[in-house]
Each structure stands twice: as C-alpha cells, then as structure tokens.
Amino acid sequence: MQNNAQQTETENLIEFEARIERGDKIEPGDWMPDEYRRQLIRMISQHAHSEVVGMLPEGEWLTHAPSLQRKLVLMAKVQDEAGHGQYLYHAAESLGVDRKELLDALLEGKAKYSSIFNYPSLTWADVAWIGWLVDGAAIKNQTMLTKASYGPYSRAMVRICAEETFHFKQGKQMIYQYVQGTPKQQAMVQESFDRWWWPTLMMFGPPDSESPNSAQLTKWGVKSKTNDELRQEFIDETVTEVLALGLTVPDPDLRYDEASEHWITGPINWDEFWAVVKGNGPMNKERLAAKQDAHDDGQWVREAMVAYAEKQKAFA
C-alpha cells in the first residue's frame, strides 16, 4: 500500500512539472508539492502586504495635494493599492491559508513586505517619483509574474499591471511638468530623486548570488527572470530618460558601457538593504504601528457588521 501511495506522489510530481513545462496553469484544487504551496503563500502574501503598506506613504499626501485634480488622481491610486492587496490576499487564500493568519504575521513582524515602503515620503515630488520609480519597478517585476504557473497569482498580476500603468504614467507626467517648471519645483524633483533612486534599485531584491528562493521558484515556473536581470532592464530604461530631462543620478560611478549597451551603476549599499529588511529602516516601526492602529480602530466596525449580519439571519 505504501509503495502505491509513494508512486502516486511521484506520478503527481511528474505530471505537475510536465504541466508547468507546457506552460499550463496550476489551479486551486490541483495537486501541488507542499513546498510549491508554501513558497507561493509566502510570496503572494508578502506581495499583498506590500500593496497595503504601500498605501501609507502616499496616503499621507492626500490632504496635502496641491490641487483637487491631483487629489482625485492620488485617491484613485491609493484605492487601487487597496484593491490590489485584496486580489493578492485572495490569491494566497486559494492555497488554503486564512486572512487572519496572514494579517497576524504582518502585524507581528513575521511577514515581510517590500523594503521600499520603509522610506518616508517627505515632499510632494516623492509622490511623483513613487509613481515613476517604485511603480515602474513593480511593473517590471509584475509583468514577469504574469507568466507565473499558479493561475490565481498570474491573473492577479495581469489585472494589477493594467492598473499599475496608470500609477506609473501619472507619476511620470508630474515629473515632466515640474522639470519644466519653476527653479523651486526643479530642485524639489532632483532632491527627491536623490533619495528614491537607490532604494528603488534595491526593490528588485538581493543580487542573484544571494537570493535563496530563486532557483526553486524558477524551476516551478513562478519566476522567469532573475533579480539582477530585472534590475538591469529597469536601470537601462530609467537612466536614459532621467538624464534626457536634465536631471542627475546620485551615482559618481555611473557609466554607459558601449560594448554591452548597459548603464553600469556604482555599488549598491546592500548593508542598508539588509538593515531595512530586518526591521531597521527609517519607517519600519511607524508602518507597522499604522497597520496595527488601523486594525484596532476598525474592530468596532467589523464587530458591528458581524452583529448586524447575525441579527438579520436570526430574523430571516
């Protein structure tokens, strides 16, 4: 009996890997290795946490937007991030994990979210650069993930990418407007870029040589490009355009390599990256405190909704 069970397990794994090889999706209810399920729950839930924590640096500027139009645009963007968080939490839940478990992991500091959101949004230009740089980097990563083997994650990525393009463009449009504006606006844009450039490059994750989960995720069709590949694509596209606008890049070692046709940056401060990932960035404590407050402050609302629903059922 045991041999039969093992054989079925092996057969299942062979069929699973063949499906991925063919480019077919794995859907909820399909057999999958425990490790695939575990890795995806980790990856998708951390992606979801990033969306909702990402609402915070921009949410701060809603009441300080310089015009009603900018406020409406920013509000739409922040609402999108909330929606994206929901798409992703639900994709994670389809793998058999509860929302409460995921939220507890975030609030207890056990789950990670994208390191970029541990930086403060100090000026209005930060809102613009978050759109161009941070969402631009997210689009690079998420475009790759649209090909992910797990159906619900792949579908969430396609929908997020479509909406994220609006985020990217509205940020870019602001930068283009301000670099052609007053000296004060131009200075604000440059100062903000100097603070967001390096952390954005770190968004793509540690160098390939230090990325422990990548090999397995690639084998099972979740990732198809490496951290360094995506990072380099982003650098090449962004540096050219930023320099064309008359801005400078805060990197004295930056040079264009004619042979490879790539922009080569100076060394990335990986000590800073690991410090932020481990909880010692500028805003880690504040971000988690804000999420904890939101959870606590909302408790009476959630309880009221449950009480109302149960009362309706009792009288049905």
């Binding site: 999706k25 859907e27 209810g29 057999w31 839940e93 396609v158 283009y176 064309a244 449950v306």
Partner: protein, 184 residues
C-alpha cells in the same frame, strides 16, 4: 463568524449584456448585500461591467478534471445547499474552465441544468454537449444552485457602475505616451 473571519464569496462579472458572466476572484463579506458592494469596490474600479453576481463559496461545488478522474463519486466536501435529496428538480448554474493556458478568468458561465443535487447537476452537465462542445476537454467545473446566486439589479446599473466609466483620470490611456521628444 468572527470579526476577523468572514465568509468568502466568488464574484462573477458580466462585462456586456451579450457576454457570459466570468469568475474573476473572491471577496470576504458578512452578508450577501455587502458581498455585492465589496465585489463592486474591489473588482469594478474600471469599466466595463453590466452585471455582478456573487455566491457564497460554501454553496459552490467545484471539481477539477483531475479530481473527477481520481474520485468520480466523491461525496465528502459537498456544498452546504441545505438541500436533501428528493425527486424535486431545481436550476443550477454551470461554469467551466476551458483552458489551462493563461486567461483572465477562473471559470466562465456556460448555462443551466435542472437536477436534484449539485452532484447530479454536474453529471448531467458532463454528459451533455448542450453547454459545451466537448465536456471531456473541460478542466474545472463549478455548479451553483441558482437560488444561491445574489445578483446586482438592473435598475442599479447606473449607480453601481457609471462612476467607474466617468472617472477617466484613472485610465492609463488618458496619459498617452510620455517621452522626452514629446516635450518641447
């Protein structure tokens, strides 16, 4: 139900009147009315939407082709329709996943079947070419009692879905191509 554990509903969106409803994701909600509202807020921030359906996941029988093959008469984990087997027939809505390639939807509405239980409805759907050309080429089947589907009302189309259409500032196409050469 606790304040941090809410029931989950599948959401089905119909983009235009002549297109089928498509399963596009799930929402949590404390009741049916809120489920529709949450479905609109999470899944219809942008056009197009003509109709939304939601159904509690506890009412949906889902079977993959793999599950059917390995366990054709699986009786455990039946949905809680609160319905005991009698000779009475009721209407079931059937949804199918027709491809394992990348698509935007988990399942597409293909039609209705009258049956006495969800399992019975699934057997009828799988044995017929009325709903799909080749039922053997379906990867996932969903069966939902019609009475367990909560639908947006036609008279509410304007108030539910028009705001998404009017707010063009959140459409990426409105921003066009932003490049250095275009700015002079």
């Amino acid at each position: 139900m606790t304040d941090t554990q809410w029931p989950r509903y599948e959401v089905f969106k119909q983009d235009k009147p002549n297109k089928p409803h498509e399963a596009i994701g799930t929402v949590h909600a404390t009741d049916d009315e809120l489920a529709l509202q949450n479905a609109r807020d999470v899944h219809v921030r942008r056009p197009d939407c003509h109709s939304l359906w939601v159904a509690s996941e506890t009412k949906i029988l889902k079977r993959t082709a793999q599950q059917i093959e390995q366990n054709p008469t699986q009786q455990d984990a039946e949905p809680q329709t609160g319905y005991s087997q009698t000779d009475q027939l009721e209407t079931y809505q059937i949804f199918c996943k027709k491809t394992l390639r990348r698509t935007m939807v988990a399942a597409v509405h293909v039609g209705t079947v009258d049956a006495s239980t969800p399992q019975h409805a699934l057997e009828i759907a799988r044995g017929s070419t009325d709903l799909v050309a080749d039922p053997n080429k379906i990867y996932v089947w969903w069966v939902v009692p019609d009475r367990d589907i909560i639908r947006s009302e036609d008279e509410n189309i304007a108030s539910l879905f028009e705001p998404a259409i009017g707010k063009t500032y959140k459409q990426q196409s409105r921003y066009g191509l932003i490049q250095p050469e275009a700015q002079t």
